[in-house]
C-alpha cells in the first residue's frame, strides 16, 4: 500500500522526464557542435567547390576579381600566435615561479586574485590599449631603435608604423599572460609539499627545487596548459584586429601590416557583397574552427591522460 501511494505522489514518468530533460540538454551541446560544423561547411561550399585545396595555399585575396586564398591569413594567424607564445611563455613561467616560491606568503592570495581578475578583462580593452597607447610608443621609440640596431635581420626592417604583426604579437602576449600564468601556477601548486621539503632538506637551492622537482612533476600539466593558451590565442579576434592593420600581403618584416583569419572576418564579413566572397569568408571561419578544435582537442586529451599522475 505504501508502495502504491508513493508512486502516485511521485509517478515514474516524472523521473524519466527529469533524466530525459537533462540528457537532451547535454545532447544539445553535441548537436550544436555538429550543426555548426555542417552549417559552416554548407555555407562555405561555393568557395570550396571553386578553389578546392588551392584555397589553403593561395596568397591571392581579391574581392574584385573573385579570387580568394587563405594562405596569408593562415600564416598571419600562426605567426602572431607564435610571437605571442614566444613572449608570453617565459614571462608566465617567471610570474608563476614568483607566485609560488618567491613572493611573501601574505601577498600570494592578493597577487593570485589580481592575476585571475586580469585574465577576465575583455579582449577589446587590450585592443584599445594596443591601438592608442602601445602602437604610438612602439612607432616612435622602439621600432626605429630596432631597425637601427637589428635591421640586418629582415624581420626588423620596414616602416615603423606601430601597426602590424609585431604590435599584434605583443598585445596578444600581454592578453594571454594572466591566463597562462594562472594555469602554470596551478600546476606548480600540485607538487606535494613533502617532495619540495625533501629536496630543500638535501640542500637544494630554490631554483634546483623548481627545475628538478616542481617542473618535472607538473610537466604534462604545463604543456597541456600552454596548448590551451595557444588555442585561445589563435581564435582571439579583437585584441589583434585593432592593431594588425589588415593587409592581405605576406612580408618578412614583422613591422608591416598583416592579418589573421579572425581579423579578416571581423573587418570584412559585413562588407562581403557577393555570394562567393561570403563563402570564402565562411571557409576561413571553418579553417579557424578546425585548427583551434584540433589544438584544443589535443590539449584536453593530453591533460586527461596525464591527470592520474598529477593527482599522484
Amino acid at each position: 500500500m505504501s508502495e502504491d501511494s508513493r508512486s502516485r505522489r511521485h509517478p515514474v514518468w516524472v523521473e524519466s522526464l527529469f533524466k530525459g530533460l537533462t540528457c537532451s540538454a547535454g545532447g544539445l551541446i553535441l548537436l550544436l557542435l555538429a550543426v555548426m560544423m555542417a552549417v559552416l561547411f554548407y555555407d562555405a561550399w561555393p568557395s570550396i567547390k571553386q578553389f578546392k585545396l588551392g584555397f589553403l595555399v593561395s596568397t591571392n585575396w581579391n574581392p574584385v576579381t573573385h579570387q580568394f586564398g587563405a594562405f596569408t591569413t593562415i600564416v598571419g594567424t600562426l605567426v602572431s600566435t607564435a610571437l605571442a607564445m614566444l613572449l608570453a611563455v617565459p614571462l608566465a613561467g617567471g610570474v608563476a615561479l614568483f607566485l609560488t616560491e618567491l613572493s611573501p606568503v601574505f601577498l600570494r592570495p592578493i597577487f593570485s586574485t589580481a592575476i585571475e581578475l586580469l585574465a577576465a578583462i575583455p579582449s577589446i580593452i587590450y585592443g584599445m590599449w594596443g591601438l592608442f597607447s602601445l602602437a604610438p610608443l612602439l612607432a616612435d621609440h622602439v621600432q626605429p631603435w630596432m631597425t637601427e640596431h637589428l635591421g640586418f635581420i629582415p624581420l626588423f626592417q620596414g616602416p615603423p608604423m606601430g601597426i602590424g604583426m609585431f604590435t599584434a604579437g605583443i598585445v596578444l602576449a600581454i592578453m594571454i599572460l594572466p591566463f597562462m600564468a594562472s594555469v602554470i601556477r596551478d600546476v606548480f601548486l600540485m607538487t606535494p609539499q613533502v617532495l619540495k621539503e625533501s629536496a630543500y632538506g638535501l640542500g637544494a637551492t630554490t631554483w634546483e627545487v623548481v627545475w628538478q622537482v616542481v617542473f618535472p612533476y607538473g610537466r604534462r600539466g604545463v604543456v597541456g596548459g600552454l596548448f590551451l593558451g595557444l588555442g585561445r590565442a589563435m581564435g582571439e579576434t579583437m585584441a589583434v584586429t585593432f592593431v594588425i592593420g589588415n593587409a592581405h600581403e605576406l612580408s618578412w618584416s614583422l613591422f608591416n601590416p598583416a592579418n589573421t583569419i579572425a581579423s579578416t572576418l571581423a573587418n570584412e564579413f559585413t562588407e562581403a557583397s557577393d555570394k562567393l566572397y561570403l563563402a570564402a569568408l565562411v571557409e576561413l571561419g571553418l579553417v579557424l574552427f578546425l585548427i583551434t578544435f584540433i589544438v584544443l582537442g589535443l590539449a584536453e586529451w593530453w591533460l586527461k591522460h596525464s591527470a592520474p599522475r598529477e593527482k599522484g
Binding site: 544539445l28 551541446i29 618567491l102 578583462i121 579582449s123 587590450y126
Partner: protein, 280 residues
C-alpha cells in the same frame, strides 16, 4: 671556504630568481599601465550625458551612449535566459547521470567549446538566424552569446554539483525521495552558492564579448526598438568608434571601455565573494 660548485649553484639560483622577479615586474608594469590608461582616459568622458543621451554625429558636442548600455544589458539578459537553464540542465546530466561514454564525450567537447573562437560562433549565428530572418537583430546577438555561455555554465555546474557529497544524496534517497526530488531539493540547494558564482562568471565573460556581436546584433545609433532590429551595444560601439578618425568618438570609446571593464571586474569580485562565503 665554500667549494666552487656551491658558488656556481648559488649563482644560478640567484640568476633564476632575479629573472623570475623581472618577469613578474614586467607583467605587473604592463597590466597596471593598461588599467591606469583605461581609467584615466575613460574617466575624462564620463558625465551625466554619457549615461542618459543618444550618440551624436561626429563633431557635435555632448551626447552619450545610453542606447548602447541598454542594448548590452538586453542582449546579455537574452543570452542568460537562453543559456543558463540549458547549461544547468546539461551540467546536472554530467554530474548525476553522465558517468558513461556519452557523458565523457559531452565533457570532452564542452571543454573544447569553452575556448572555441567566438568569432566563428558569430559566423554560425549569422548563417542560422540573420540570413533566414532577413536582417541583423538583437535576438541573434543574444543567441550567439548564449551559445558561448552554454558550455561555460555546463562545466561550472558539473564541478559544483560534484562537490556535494554522495552521502547527502544517499541520505535523501534513503528517506524515500525520488532522484529528481533529491537533485532539486537537496543537491541544488547545497551547491547554490557555487552555481550562482559560475553563472555570474559566465555573464561577466559574455558581457565583454565583441566578436560574435559584429555580424549578429550589429550596432545602431538609436534606442533598442525590439529584438528583431539591429541593436546598439557597448562593445561593437567601442570597435566602431575606436576605428573612426573622429577624436570625440575615440574619447567615447575609452569611456565605454572603462564602463565594460569596471562591470566585468565588479561581477568577478562579486562572484569571488560568493565563493568565499560558501567556504565558511
Amino acid at each position: 671556504m665554500k667549494s666552487r660548485s656551491v658558488r656556481i649553484r648559488r649563482f644560478k639560483n640567484a640568476l633564476a630568481l632575479i629573472c623570475s622577479l623581472v618577469a613578474a615586474l614586467i607583467g605587473l608594469v604592463f597590466l597596471i599601465w593598461i588599467l591606469i590608461e583605461v581609467i584615466l582616459r575613460g574617466a575624462a568622458c564620463i558625465n551625466w550625458a554619457f549615461f542618459t543621451q543618444l550618440p551624436v554625429p561626429p563633431g557635435e558636442e555632448g551626447g552619450g551612449l545610453a542606447n548602447a548600455m541598454l542594448g548590452t544589458v538586453i542582449i546579455t539578459v537574452v543570452a542568460t535566459v537562453l543559456g543558463v537553464p540549458l547549461g544547468i540542465l546539461a551540467g546536472t546530466y554530467l554530474s548525476e547521470f553522465g558517468r558513461n561514454r556519452f557523458g565523457d564525450t559531452i565533457r570532452f567537447l564542452s571543454n573544447i567549446f569553452v575556448s572555441a573562437p567566438s568569432i566563428v560562433i558569430g559566423v554560425f549565428v549569422y548563417a542560422i538566424l540573420v540570413v533566414p530572418l532577413g536582417g541583423f537583430s538583437g535576438l541573434a546577438g543574444g543567441v550567439s552569446l548564449a551559445i558561448i555561455m552554454l558550455p561555460v555554465v555546463t562545466r561550472t555546474t558539473e564541478e559544483m554539483l560534484r562537490l556535494v557529497p554522495n552521502s547527502v544524496r544517499e541520505a535523501a534517497l534513503a528517506l524515500g525521495a525520488p532522484y529528481w526530488h533529491v537533485v532539486w531539493q537537496v543537491v541544488y540547494r547545497s551547491a547554490r552558492a557555487g552555481m550562482l558564482t559560475g553563472i555570474i562568471l559566465a555573464i561577466a565573460r559574455v558581457s565583454g564579448e565583441t566578436a560574435p556581436l559584429l555580424f549578429t546584433a550589429l550596432n545602431s545609433p538609436y534606442w533598442p526598438e525590439g529584438l528583431m532590429e539591429p541593436m546598439a551595444n557597448l562593445t561593437v560601439t567601442i570597435f566602431n568608434y575606436a576605428m573612426s578618425p573622429y577624436d570625440d568618438w575615440q574619447v567615447k570609446a575609452w569611456g565605454a571601455s572603462l564602463l565594460i571593464m569596471v562591470a566585468v571586474l565588479a561581477m568577478n569580485i562579486i562572484a569571488r565573494v560568493f565563493v568565499h562565503r560558501m567556504g565558511k
